[in-house]
């Protein structure tokens, strides 16, 4: 159909091209015009020529329009130019053609109503007349409108008729003589043939299909382990085998392998990687199992894995996780150690900052934020004494000499030395004496410089006040009980008997945090934020510098043997230094989740403890052997819990009883606890 339509359009184009000289209208309008001309000529020349014309038109419609000229000769001008004129134009002789008289509408209507042929009448504005179209013309128009050829009996696709008759003619079309090449064998063809023949003879060209020989044979001969049977090239890493199916992949799995609808829905909330790839489903019978639609896809994925994935041999550790744990002696063998809370010392109203146990183990002193210092009897838990010092007590320490019951306490910028008024009367008297001399303190003022410390008598209590220039953080006694040290941002040494202070360490690698005396030798430990400096007091020189590797040291404790140091830090780590071994930690334990506030060794038992802001205290076994070849043995023993957190703080201090395996802990919940075996 498409083809025939195109044909029609082509014809139509031809027509309009012919007409375009005098009319640019649509082709159908042209056609009207053209048919008008037929009519006109027909009416003019009578019936016979008309029929002739019609016949001619049937024969060749295209040429007819040129023969008869229209009545009007104005040409292709807008007809409105003649709108107001009397005439419509000029005839071929140049005479005016008068306009016809207009008939009334009613008349026209009546005439039209009467006339059966009215539908075929058309008003020709150009010639100012009414034209009646013949039936044939109407047919042509309707055919043209349909896009067909104007005449029904035109065959658009006639069979080709070869007009030339070849048969029985006796002679060819051309009378030229046959050229020679028609009779001589072609040279080039011969060359080609020779080539082909040679190729065939030499077997370059074969015509039969190559035979399919059976290409299977016994590929693997003997299975001896010779060099030929070894794989060449790089070491072959076989691809891991695909996972074997579990119960859940069964077509009829156990009921417990099928997830519930809620579980399936919950998979949507998971990350895409975590989402299970296979959702088990249950089929009642084998016949209801459908084809697995991902079969090809999975096969393809496996192929991709096989040729695209880098393969490496990975050692898979197949060990019992328990075997990773270091072998430790049983806890039962390490008894005694504090395990359970035995006593609670209640009385303070604010967090207890610091505690200290008297050397005999009979008394316990505590300093708290509520501005009081209390002395408790350990065995009964009774509060023996209370001093109100009117300020937050930051640190407190008993004099380690049993015959000097003196307490050192830090309140703000001041260090108080108080007669504890416990113990034998003799000792109390001695303490009183020691503290009395404090009245001579102002003598120090004679120095030019402003002294670092002012020794003065306490105005209310029976004791001495050492006023520092800055806030004091720590105090520690020498084991003989005469010297003591305080940590302002610098380290100061004081002598109780002479009431004298001096400032020995001018240069330190950072701000000192804690300072402490060696428990038996003349050594002195100063901990800055990252290092611990060990000084020999007699020679007054630096002996060692321990690198903790911690972020910020908060506390330090020296083993009674003197060679081992533990250091607690604000990142919850505890370092054990064996100073004979190395200047780096022998072991670092990450046991607390928050800052360690205090670490302490037991004087007699191989125990050490740490307390932390996370409301727990940790008791460990720390055995030091006299054999230098044997490293210290550290066994974590017990986590002591019981303190409650207040204001984000937990346990603020811990101290061992000097003789018993007991641990005192001071909490931010203003309670002191005693843990016993």
């Amino acid at each position: 159909m498409g083809h025939s339509d195109g044909e029609h359009e082509h014809e139509v184009d031809d027509l309009s091209a012919d007409d375009s000289s005098w009319s640019d209208g649509v082709w159908s309008e042209d056609d009207d015009e053209e048919s008008v001309s037929f009519e006109d000529s027909g009416s003019g020349s009578g019936s016979d020529p008309e029929s002739e014309e019609a016949a001619a038109a049937a024969e060749e419609s295209d040429s007819s329009e040129d023969e008869v000229a229209p009545r009007n000769t104005v040409g292709d001008v807008p007809l409105e130019w003649y709108k107001d004129e009397e005439h419509i134009g000029y005839d071929i002789d140049g005479r005016k053609i008068k306009k016809r008289d207009r008939e009334g509408r009613i008349e026209a209507y009546l005439r039209n109503a009467d006339d059966a042929k009215n539908w075929r009448k058309i008003y020709d504005e150009y010639n100012d007349e009414e034209v009646q179209i013949t039936k044939e013309e109407a047919k042509i128009i309707s055919r043209l409108l349909k896009g067909k050829t104007p005449h029904a009996n035109v065959d658009p696709y006639p069979d080709y008729v070869d007009w030339f008759e070849y048969e029985d003619k006796g002679h060819p079309l051309s009378s030229a003589p046959e050229p020679k090449r028609r009779f001589v064998p072609s040279k080039w063809e011969q060359k080609k043939v020779v080539k082909l023949v040679r190729a065939i003879r030499n077997g370059w060209i074969k015509f039969d299909k190559p035979k399919e020989e059976p290409n299977l044979y016994l590929l693997w001969g003997d299975e001896t382990d010779t060099a030929d049977n070894k794989r060449q090239g790089l070491s072959y890493i076989p691809a891991p085998k695909p996972n074997l199916p579990g119960h859940e992949e069964s077509y009829n799995p156990s009921i417990e392998y099928i997830p519930t609808q809620e579980e399936i829905d919950s998979y949507q909330l998971m990350y895409e990687e975590d989402r299970p790839k296979f959702i088990p489903k249950r089929f009642e019978s084998l016949r209801s199992v459908p084809a697995y639609e991902k079969a090809l896809r999975e096969g393809f994925d496996r192929c991709l894995d096989l040729y695209l994935c880098p393969r490496t041999r990975k050692k898979r550790i197949n060990i019992d996780p328990e075997s990773l744990k270091p072998k430790l002696p049983s806890k039962k063998d390490l008894r005694p150690y504090p395990k359970t809370c035995y006593l609670e010392f209640k009385g303070h109203t604010s967090p207890v900052n610091s505690i200290s146990v008297e050397i005999t183990g009979q008394w316990l002193a505590s300093g708290s934020c509520d501005g009081t210092i209390r002395v408790w009897e350990v065995e009964t838990g009774r509060c023996v004494k209370v001093w109100n010092v009117g300020g937050d007590v930051r640190h407190i320490a008993w004099n380690p000499s049993p015959d000097r019951p003196i307490l050192a306490a830090i309140v703000g910028h001041e260090l108080l030395l108080i007669n504890a008024e416990v113990g034998s009367e003799e000792a109390q008297m001695k303490a009183k004496e020691l503290l009395k001399i404090g009245e001579m303190a102002p003598q120090d003022d004679t120095d030019d410089k402003k002294p670092a410390v002012m020794w003065m008598k306490h105005d209310k209590l029976d004791g001495i006040t050492l006023t520092h220039q800055k806030a004091v953080s720590k105090v520690d006694w020498h084991f003989k009980g005469d010297y003591f040290t305080t940590v302002v941002p610098t380290v100061l040494l004081h002598q109780l008997t002479k009431k004298h202070s001096h400032h020995p360490f001018r240069k330190l690698p950072g701000l000192p945090v804690v300072a402490t005396f060696h428990p038996s030798q003349k050594m002195f430990f100063v901990a800055t934020k990252k290092f611990v400096q060990v000084y020999d007091l007699q020679k007054a020189q630096l002996v060692k510098k321990l690198e903790s590797g911690l972020r910020e040291i908060s506390s330090i404790s020296i083993h009674p043997g003197g060679d081992n140091v533990i250091v607690g830090s604000k990142d919850g780590k505890l370092c054990w230094f064996d100073t004979d071994l190395s200047t780096r930690p022998y072991k670092t334990l990450k046991i607390h989740s928050k800052d360690i506030t205090s670490v302490t060794f037991h004087r007699k038992y191989p125990l050490f403890a740490s307390s932390s802001e996370d409301c727990s205290a940790y008791v460990c076994h720390g055995m030091v052997y006299s054999d230098l070849n044997q490293n210290p043995l550290i066994v974590p023993l017990e986590i002591l819990r019981g303190h409650s957190s207040s204001d984000g703080r937990g346990v603020l201090d811990c101290k061992f009883h000097p003789k018993q395996p007991w641990l005192f802990t001071a909490g931010a919940d203003s309670v002191i606890r005693l843990y016993c075996d």
Partner: protein, 639 residues
């Protein structure tokens, strides 16, 4: 200075010299990427993971030696030749030189992969070890639609079908199938060949759809290698049981899509013939030689073309007609097909098909088989199966004979009919069975699979027609290692123990109802159970008696007794609390020792703990679901 600065004139060293990226490798070999891929697949070259990725992290690295290995392969030249050939054909077609084009098309350059197979798998065991993927792939392609115009050639699909059937026939013949599992993805089989466990997956016997999300070029490259590999493996295996390869099949059975059965027949007769030949070697040399020649001829005609094949069939039929008249009066279908097969192989067996089978049974030396094989061989011994229309025939035709059963199916070419009196089991998979023979049991196909996995004949009650069968469990799971044992696995375990005449501890109360039904069949087991129970009761009574006697001696009055009981319960509580304490301590100790580990060890330990925890959670989930299901089902029962 750039990061990896190398002075001019200095050779590359280390990872930069050892590894090469893919793009560079392709350029180095002067091939296209597609050919490079194909080469890698065929040669089994895979990317490596260098310690230091010199060219960038997101690139694929190949070892330089691997690439050198590829570049020395003659295959690379062959691929170039193919490319040239393709160009020649194209040119000839474009120049309308039809003769040349046809001639060229008739002689495409071909290559063989046998060398590569040997190169990749120097010993046969190596090949067997890597056979899993090969078998899965071949079985997958065997299940694809063999339609012209699809992306896979029909010829190759037929080849895959043939190879898979040959493999299955071997496995079935040597009874080396060990485990089977019907999963949603298909049916898994595990066989043991020469000590290697080979697992493969066959899709369900349903039409697979060729999807667009896969690259068939890659898969077909793999398939090309796998086809060759499996061909050689089959050859070797058939050789090892003294059967000719490639097998010649009964074309009628082949036409009926019962190739596997045809293969089995071929194998049994083939090996028999081998033995016969050996026996008659001395006596009947002439005859034998003739047979060999004829056989060769036969082979040729077989391999030549399909048209020839059909001709052969006609010939064979013609021969049958003749022979029928003169010699044998074959009545049953089985005999007929036997005869045809025999004629195809140009040797005439005895009249009776059973005799043939017996001969082979004898021939396979029993002492050569290990215990496992023996067990597998005798599982379905003396059982006759009949498969209904709707069950997956291929799978069962493979499994049942490999465990020593005889099997037939509904349809043409079947060895025996449904009306056969000797049939012991009929396998059906339909809601109801209208006509029932009382002499046989009607079971669902799952029964066969479960029996095979349990290695005992399970009671058929649970698998009867129309019932929902008990859960089908995977034989590949180590339940103990997994930490959760499904209920039915335990039942099977007990049944196995009963079959071995052992007595396991009595099942829990919950299991009893299920158990009773299952145990009913096993008389000796129940008896032994009863005996055990009696014994236990006796023991209990005895103990009670002794206790009372003791108490009398101690002078405990009855009133005291109750107190004492209370005491004892108290002490029990105490011990319990002690125990709890111990547990707590244990937990604390755990905490402590983790603090002492090094950071790396702690990380490892924690990772392991997480793994354990996940596993535990999984088991917990299963238990919870089980509990829920149980409670809901019991609630339903009550209503």
């Amino acid at each position: 200075m750039p990061k990896h600065y190398r002075p001019a004139g200095k050779k590359k060293e280390g990872n930069a010299a050892k590894y090469i990226t893919r793009t560079k490798a392709v350029n180095y070999l002067q091939v296209s990427l597609a050919i490079f891929r194909k080469l890698c697949i065929l040669k089994g070259v895979f990317p490596r993971q260098p310690k230091k990725k010199v060219e960038g992290n997101h690139k694929t690295y190949y070892h330089m030696k691997d690439i050198a290995f590829l570049s020395h392969d003659p295959l690379i030249e062959k691929f170039r030749e193919i490319k040239v050939h393709r160009k020649k054909v194209k040119k000839a077609v474009a120049k309308k030189n039809r003769d040349l084009a046809e001639r060229l098309l008739n002689q495409p350059p071909t290559y063989k992969l046998d060398r590569l197979v040997l190169e990749r798998y120097p010993t046969f065991v190596d090949a067997l070890r890597d056979l899993d993927d090969c078998l899965t792939m071949i079985h997958l392609f065997a299940a694809l639609p063999a339609i012209d115009g699809e992306r896979v050639e029909v010829k190759r699909i037929h080849n895959c079908r043939r190879l898979s059937h040959e493999w299955q026939a071997y496995i079935s013949r040597t009874h080396s199938l060990r485990k089977t599992f019907i999963s949603v993805k298909g049916i898994y089989y595990q066989a043991e060949v020469q000590g290697q466990k080979i697992t493969w997956l066959t899709p369900h016997a349903l039409q697979q759809v060729l999807t667009d999300d896969v690259d068939f070029n890659v898969m077909l490259s793999f398939l090309e290698f796998y086809e060759t590999l499996l061909g050689f493996v089959n050859f070797k295996l058939y050789h090892s049981i003294k059967v000719n390869y490639p097998p010649i099949l009964d074309s009628r059975l082949e036409a009926l899509a019962a190739e596997l059965y045809a293969l089995c027949r071929y194998m049994s007769s083939g090996s028999a013939r081998m033995i016969e030949n050996l026996k008659s070697e001395e006596t009947d040399e002439n005859n034998n030689a003739e047979g060999v020649i004829e056989e060769k001829k036969d082979k040729k005609s077989k391999t030549s073309s399909k048209a020839d094949k059909s001709e052969l069939k006609n010939n064979a039929d013609g021969v049958i007609e003749e022979k029928k008249d003169s010699k044998i009066k074959a009545s049953s279908k089985a005999d007929e097909s036997e005869l045809r097969l025999a004629l195809l192989q140009h040797q005439l067996p005895t009249n009776e098909p059973g005799a043939l089978v017996n001969l082979i049974e004898e021939s396979t030396a029993p002492d050569a088989d290990d215990d496992d094989t023996k067990e597998c061989k005798s599982l379905f011994k003396n059982l006759k199966f009949f498969l209904s229309r709707e069950v997956p025939r291929e799978s069962l035709l493979f499994i049942i004979p490999s465990f020593g059963g005889t099997v037939s199916w509904e349809g043409e070419g079947a060895p025996f009919n449904e009306v056969d009196e000797d049939i012991t089991h009929q396998i059906v998979d339909r809601p109801t069975q209208s006509h029932v023979f009382l002499s046989r049991e009607y079971v669902q196909p799952q029964w066969v699979f479960d029996c095979v996995n349990a290695r005992i004949l399970l009671p058929t009650e649970g698998y009867l027609v129309g019932r929902v069968p008990p859960p089908h469990l995977s034989p590949f799971v180590d339940n103990d290692a997994e930490g959760y044992i499904p209920e039915y696995a335990e039942t099977i375990k007990r049944l196995q123990a009963a079959a071995r005449n052992e007595v396991l501890p009595l099942p829990g109360i919950g299991d009893e109802d299920l158990d009773n039904s299952l145990v009913a069949a096993m008389v000796d087991r129940t008896e032994s159970n009863e005996a055990a129970e009696k014994k236990r009761k006796l023991e209990m009574l005895e103990k009670q008696y002794h206790d009372e006697l003791k108490m009398e001696i101690d002078g405990v009055t009855f009133s005291n007794l109750s107190n004492k009981k209370a005491d004892s319960s108290d002490t029990k509580d105490d011990t319990k609390s002690d125990h709890e304490d111990d547990e707590n301590k244990q937990a604390e100790k755990d905490d402590g020792s983790t603090a002492l580990m090094s950071r790396r060890q702690r990380g490892l330990y924690k990772a392991m703990e997480i793994g354990k925890e996940r596993k535990r959670e999984k088991v917990e989930l299963l238990k919870k679901r089980k509990k829920n299901a149980d409670s809901s089902s019991s609630a339903k029962k009550r209503h």
